[in-house]
Symmetry: C2
Subunit: 261 residues, 2 copies
Amino acid sequence: MLLEGSCFRLAEAGPFRVGRKAMAVNLSDIAAMAGRPIAAFVSLGLPRSNGREIAEALYQGMCDVADRFQTAVAGGDTNSWDGGLVVSVTVVGQSSTRGAVLRTGARPGDWLFVSGPLGGSIRGKHLNFTPRINEALRLHEIADLHAMIDISDGLGADLGKLCAESRCGAVVRADDVPISIAAREMGTASASPLDHALGDGEDFELLFAVRPADGERLLATQPIPEITLSNIGVCVESGLWIERATGREPLEPRGYEHELR
Amino acid sequence: MLLEGSCFRLAEAGPFRVGRKAMAVNLSDIAAMAGRPIAAFVSLGLPRSNGREIAEALYQGMCDVADRFQTAVAGGDTNSWDGGLVVSVTVVGQSSTRGAVLRTGARPGDWLFVSGPLGGSIRGKHLNFTPRINEALRLHEIADLHAMIDISDGLGADLGKLCAESRCGAVVRADDVPISIAAREMGTASASPLDHALGDGEDFELLFAVRPADGERLLATQPIPEITLSNIGVCVESGLWIERATGREPLEPRGYEHELR
């Protein structure tokens, strides 16, 4: 659910890109389980002025990304009200014959991978990323994915969730985290490019765990032309750690926190 | 999607009943196709103050009705923002072995039925109705349902939709429309009890079309103990009509109009 003023500014992003993002974040959740999306259900709370115009642009944006993944906008609900724009999308999908990949199967010793450079998404990627549907399906065919998640809240926070559900820990090697150009540009004395890569979120890249033999093979062959797989660390018995030249420190599971007072 | 201030007043209804209604209206949509609900996905936009308390009461209300129909709250999304409370529910279901009942199959000559008294829902029923899941499944077993819809916008409006999708018309016999006690109490010189029954909406009763032989049998046997089936009219070639003692007049497809400026 995307909420005006909290998740986006309508005047800045425009309704096309809001619709595109609302659909894409849901498709990314399907990708995180290596599923194939089938249909989307869309509920809208539209402002009373320009409601129809906004709805049409939202729909265009949704179709822009849904069509690419053969996902039908199959139903929903349209309302207008005195509040801000609200866009809620539910996507249903199907697991492949190999089953859905959950967050629960990582084990100590597994290698951790991400599917692309991280950080600085706010500079533009958060509005026009491509959900990793096809890449996840391909990975699921060629490797035994023990656990997977998409990075929406930030590498630190989402790795924390994956480890919590798998009842294990992880060590991230600072030098091996791929850092986006945007994160490099945004780096300051108080927040380094690596901090951005660990904490910004909305990267919508895949984070997954495989046994070392699969990991070595993926790293050596880079079997998916669209992306570069980076081995960022390993799973351990417990704790979340980051390994720098200066030693191992606790990795704060930072990132976007869904506040609830 | 239920929106505070537009679909409900939180202070009046309270979050438990808002949650219950948000789930029940979705289950009623599954009932309208004679489906069996399976799982619900719930997205919330919560106000920043008392967000957790409201979320917990909403969830209790949702489970109050979902549990009764073996429907799991299987996922969703929780946000807080500066706007009013937003509750969006998507329910997925399964059609029975006889298939889903659509709105498209009514034919001239079919008898039209409703599953209960109509009108005056605002007096309370709209917040605590029971979705006609079981009744619809039973009807689907014992009769050949040509077309069905649940009455959410009002008998006039929803009959209009059913007829439009079936490319036929209908005549409603004024004296045969079952009128709720609430609608009788609300009747005035400017809006009769029948007007309320035709136009109030949120009755969440079933409206369906069957061939005359099925209709006669349903009427004679009243096979579902929980409800009284009323034969309110017949399908015709075209037009929407209401037949009163004084003659046949056009039936305005009144009811709740989803405004969109």
